[in-house]
Symmetry: C2
Subunit: 330 residues, 2 copies
């Protein structure tokens, strides 16, 4: 018996969220829609130029774990915070959501990671991430029991940015597969794919990763093509199962040559796209670990993504389990 449905692993980040206009992004050389990696000095500069903000726990895989738990799935998380106030906030929020989280916080090193997220009038988010304590995440943080007892272990492609996280992930893949569990990853960001294309393809083709999440741009970037249909064909060949999100066009689930299209959920007002992909993965993996059909998995994913983009902040404030019930999905 598995103890956890989904274990997620990622950079443990507190989001600092503010609105700005497009000129601000241009003036500050922030790549729109992307995750921009920044150092401590630039973090200080950007914060000094940022308007009044609100804070919320984030981190791509952290959001996914919170989403799974909000569906009443059993979730666990590995990620590195520092022993500081932002670290306490992160720890509180993920545990309060019901996620198992016991990674040892970093002492006397860099502070907890934060991402300054600028939301433009079109509701697109542009992230500026200072990795802080996350750079110390490594194989020593892998709790073998938790990996062995999780149906799916899911991680962020973003983990290829800090130096030693990939060693932890490869260790997890060995443990998971030795226990006949599955490994899953998200490609995270098209620029991240640009940085680690070869390694990501190797993870998929070697079978270290079974299930891949991507959005359209990431899938195109992975295969360096503008032909989306071709990218879908290739991703279907490179992993056992892929789910590719397409914003308002929903998602395409690809299993070998088979394709299943799931429409996006209709929404009221688009507020902030932060967390859309993370929550899609949460919904999909929740359905998947409950043994639901791939179409239902996609519907769970689109439901969760549709909810999180109608609020500020990357983790749904309302219960996803209740939303699923209302949508006739539970």
């Amino acid at each position: 018996m598995a103890t956890y449905d989904v274990l997620t692993i990622g950079n443990a980040i507190v989001d600092i969220i503010s609105r700005c206009d497009d000129d601000f992004l241009i003036d500050n050389a922030i790549t729109k829609g992307a995750m921009n990696l920044i150092d401590a000095e630039r973090a200080e500069l950007l914060y000094s130029r940022m308007g009044p903000a609100v804070e919320a726990s984030g981190g791509s895989a952290g959001n996914t774990a919170a989403g799974v738990a909000s569906f009443n799935g059993r979730a666990a998380y590995f990620g590195k915070v520092a022993r500081d106030q932002l670290g306490e906030i992160f720890e509180h929020d993920i545990r309060a959501q019901g996620v198992y989280f016991q990674t040892e916080p970093l002492e006397d090193g860099a502070p907890t990671a934060r991402s300054m997220i600028f939301v433009t009038p079109d509701s697109e988010r542009s992230m500026n991430t200072y990795l802080g304590a996350c750079v110390e995440f490594g194989p020593e943080d892998v709790e073998e029991r938790v990996v062995a007892e999780s149906k799916v272990t899911y991680f962020e492609g973003y983990l290829w940015d800090p130096p030693r996280a990939k060693e932890a992930i490869l260790a997890c893949a060995r443990i998971a597969h030795a226990n006949r569990r599955e490994m899953s990853m998200t490609l995270s960001d098209s620029f991240c794919v640009g940085r680690y294309r070869g390694e990501f393809l190797e993870l998929m083709r070697s079978g270290a990763v079974d299930i891949v999440f991507a959005n359209r741009d990431e899938a195109l970037s992975l295969y360096e093509t503008q032909d989306f249909d071709l990218a879908l064909t290739k991703i279907g060949a490179d992993c056992k199962l892929a789910a590719v999100t397409m914003s308002e066009e929903g998602a395409m689930i690809v299993r070998g040559g088979e394709r299943i299209h799931v429409p996006a959920t209709r929404i009221g007002q688009l507020v902030d796209t932060t967390g859309a992909g993370d929550l899609f993965a949460a919904g999909f993996l929740h359905g998947y670990t409950q043994g639901r059909s791939l179409e239902d998995c996609g519907r769970f994913g689109c439901l969760a993504a549709g909810i999180v983009i109608q609020q500020i902040g990357p983790r749904p404030m309302a219960s996803l389990a209740e939303a699923a019930k209302k949508a006739g999905l539970a």
Copy 2:
């Protein structure tokens, strides 16, 4: 010439905001709708029981200063944070809003104050405040030049909770009046009035305070009566000018025997009442320091309050200056 329209002084607090049901308040002996003062131990206990939260700079008078600045008024603030991450967040947010804020942060003492705010399904907020570094705010934090150069110096009744803030306030009143400026206070909370009724009345009757803000409950508590009309008559006799808010019934402005009623702004959806009184004061004082009629002052106040209760968090995310323009008030 005044350099600032409004200087506000208060407990510098970061809000930690979560939703809960009414049973949670009962089970945890939290007085609904009130500001409950808590110590470090209870703060830890309540936080361990709190659901996932979001953080935003708060503090009653801090919200008021932010509101004045959002109307494009010239605002300043005195309040004590610690030199820690929450203190940096507070400092950032109020300065980024355009408020002058230079109070020296506390070193090597208690951490920055925080208030755990539980929002129930009726959108009422119940606050649980750990004062932390605020207890060290005292007369040495008064910047004489700023008081002398502010048209109105406004402070929270909450400042009677920490031990030495009242000395700072009395010093401010002397400076302000010596410079022919005005002093203003909010009664803050009906339980706070219960704690300091005699001192608050003395502040008013001695002329240390010119303009008083209260809500209905606070006005009733001040005069230990259930007769609202009587309370209004008495408050009119005890200070030069009073503005008493009455939730969905708007506000009553009282100058001696004169009364001016201002209706509440029509709102879409009530989300979170946090900051309603603070923002009413911001709007009122903005109008007042711009030389507007008392009726217009009330309308500015109701506008700002109406905006902040339609969002989560105590400071309006959108520009109040633009909202005033739209409402034909600018």
